[in-house]
């Protein structure tokens, strides 16, 4: 796959998008069994990664100060 990045470096939305793509490609068929198996395994990992991110997420807040700096604020 052309965009197979390291799982941990993927943002949630990237992982979700790739997962959607994989499901669509599997639905299309036209793949060899080996390709399909590889996609399937990748898809499983992406789904696990997404689930993990969902359960661990906390809102990250930054604010621009009058000095033009960006400071982090506590989560609500």
């Amino acid at each position: 796959m052309e965009t197979e990045k390291d799982l941990q470096s993927l943002s949630f939305e990237e992982a979700l998008q790739e997962l959607e793509l994989i499901v669509a490609r599997l639905e299309d068929g036209e793949l060899t069994l080996d390709e399909s198996l590889a996609l399937f395994e990748r898809g499983q990992k992406l789904a696990e990664r997404c689930n993990k991110q969902l359960s661990q997420a906390t809102l990250r807040i930054e604010q621009l100060t009058a000095d033009g700096e960006i400071v982090e604020l506590p989560s609500p």
Binding site: L19, L54, I61, S75
Partner: protein, 408 residues
Amino acid sequence: MGLFVSEANQFSQSTWSVSELTAYIREMFAIDYRLQDVTVGGEISNFTRARSGHLYFTLKDAGAQIKCVMWRSAAERLFFEPGEGDAVLANGRISVYEAGGVYQLYAERLQPAGRGNLAVAFEQLKQRLADEGLFDPEHKKPIPLTPHKIGIVTSADAAALRDILNVLNRRYPLVEVLIAPTLVQGAEAPPQIVRALQWLDGRTDIDTIIVARGGGSIEDLWAFNDERVARAIFAAQHPVITGVGHETDFTIADFVADRRAPTPSAAAELATPDIEEIRPLLAGYQAMLQSEMQDLIRQKQWQVQTLVRALSHLSPQGRLDNNRQRLDVTLARLDRAMNHRLAQEQGRLAVAVAGLTAVSPLATLSRGYAIVRLRENGRVVRSISHVASGDSLTVQVSDGQFDVRVGD
């Protein structure tokens, strides 16, 4: 009444100092409740904005003028930029500036003359921008479904921001937030909002920008009817969602935004998916992965089986089996033919043997005759001329033979 008391006083009255008199005059204004909350209409002249932020100007009409001052605290709440020549309504109290010896209007609020003018200005700007195409649907950018980072243009310490953050935290805590704080009301608000918007829009890590302000009067929300703000929203590369005021408030910013939300909280909802809707989506994808894979495996298995069947028809083993069977059949036929032939021959042999028996000398021999042969050459002796004395002869009788010698 110190200094002049002891002087000869031709007015036969007690005298006041200027300060005393001025204080008294000031008191006169103060006790007239009508002058403590008065609204006056006039045209602005001699307008100055001091470095301190206070505004000084004169209101006048054809016949009179009155000095006015507006302290910074009130000036900051202005929803428009007053200027020379503007017809305005000013509300405040009348009092005396003792050091200057002038009475003046201490204005708390200022608005363009005639409340209708706001609506007219609003409609005029709305029409003009609509004619320019700023509200056209084809300019509306889609809002990313799963944003990575959301920029927020709003007041840093307002309830609106807290509402937005709470909604984001509940719905989609995966998102990051970058706040560009601004004033959201007053004459200074529009340029600040524009700057904040442009700063966020210039960043590459932002997916969506929310421009928000909590509820308020039409004057409070006026910064969002500012043409500069509208144009900045239109020019933004990133999609902009407005959430200004309450459900029923529509501002120019709302019309030009890519999406208008009725409130700041609603803007946060429009900007993000709900995590509780993503979970089942993910589960659905996982199930689809599984079922696609199972389908595929079943399909491949079926293909393999079909091929195996096809192969078995075509394999040399089949032909071998075929030939082996032909061979068996042929061999069987051969067997049958041979047996038949053998039986035939045996029959013929039996007939021949029977014929033979009829002419066999053995029958004669058994009656006591013998066959005599020369031993030398096996010739049958049929005449005495065939033998000479001393010849060896073989005598065959029915159950065997023996040798004899011819005597003299």
